[in-house]
Amino acid sequence: MRRINSLYGRIGMLRRVPEESTKKSHTLLASLSFSTEGSYGGDGELQQNSSKVKIFDRDLKRIHRDRAAWLSRQKNDSFVDAVAENLLDRLEDCKKSFPTAFCLGGSLGAVKRLLRGRGGIEKLIMMDTSYDMIKSCRDAQEDSLDNSIETSYFVGDEEFLPVKESSVDLIISSLGLHWTNDLPGSMIQCKLALKPDGLFLAAILGGETLKELRIACTLAHMEREGGISPRLSPLAQVRDAGNLLTRAGFSLPGVDVDEYVVKYKSAMDLIEHLRAMGETNALLERNKILNRETALATAAIYDSMFATEDGTIPATFQVIYMTGWREHSSHPQAKRRGSATVSFTDLQKQFGGQS
């Protein structure tokens, strides 16, 4: 089955964007922009900083995250917790301690809850695009009476990071950055915000995520409506993750991939879970209408094609973990070409010439 434009589809019960959000204060000119394309000048008139392609509707994403903050209040999500736990485990592998840490969007609550004093963190700063999400994190902190780490909260956008240069030791982003329009630009801003020898840890969703849902959507749409519209966001591939890190200028980059298969009782449960995580469709190109028959057909195809013996349906989530450090003189650097002092023949003689 040929996929159009290699865009994967994620079904979401699409909400209508309320009118107020577009009538709010104007978008502002940017006199400087930190992007790989170079600066996009502002010349005294109001214009959006948009020299890059806009794929995602960020305002809709804020609304999704507001709703997710309310939906995921009561119970802890095991998938999100597993990803956060994996990310935070990497802190134990470092001898360094990170007094100031900065947490960017995604699953904030899980990161904060599972931190448990790893990495020697004393000050934690939390940022998200959604006000409700930040409020619910702050309320959760007050309820749990765990005030050993000094936490501050503010609302901000990952694409326009309001953090001074060289001010934090550690940046963590668990499942937040795959909704940015300009991922290289965000990563460059993160790198600038880090102190020298600071660590950047991120987990984003990869290209294999929800492939079953994508297939079911495409088939159902072709049958019922004779065409397809993009329903899944374009997600990074593993090979791109390494390029992203080097392009942003991180030294000692590291990428690894993990696949989680989550089982649901029905396709509707999968959609509920996506809503609770705030991961529903926010593509600008999305079709805002979803026919009831198409939705039911998708659920039926999913069941018939992918159901397991005990009647549950699996969904794959591929998570790409990225690690990078800001340059520091203590990092090992590759030597300049032609500066070798020892030849391979010498090495072979030294180590006994076993072939």
Binding site: K24, L28, L29, S152, F154, G156, F160, P162, S167
Partner: protein, 77 residues
């Protein structure tokens, strides 16, 4: 309810805490922000925008910023 909020704000004193005031800069121009007592917001003088602080949480999303028409005055939103 509005009266209750006003009372809480008065007790809040300096509306943002020290860690944030050291780290936060304007999201668009990356220049330092100034805390304006009158409107209880963070003002970026270089581009003339003020960002609100809701319940002690600064909102530094570019869309939430208000353009300031003149020196020190907040425009009608």
């Amino acid at each position: 309810m509005v009266r209750l909020n006003r009372v809480l704000l008065k007790d809040a004193g300096n509306a943002i805490d020290k860690t944030l005031s050291e780290i936060l800069v304007c999201p668009l121009s990356k220049q330092p922000l100034r805390f304006c007592e009158k409107t209880k917001s963070l003002v970026s003088d270089t581009i003339g925008v003020s960002f609100p602080i809701k319940d002690g949480i600064p909102c530094l999303v570019p869309k939430d910023g208000k353009i300031l028409e003149e020196e020190g005055d907040a425009s009608k939103a």
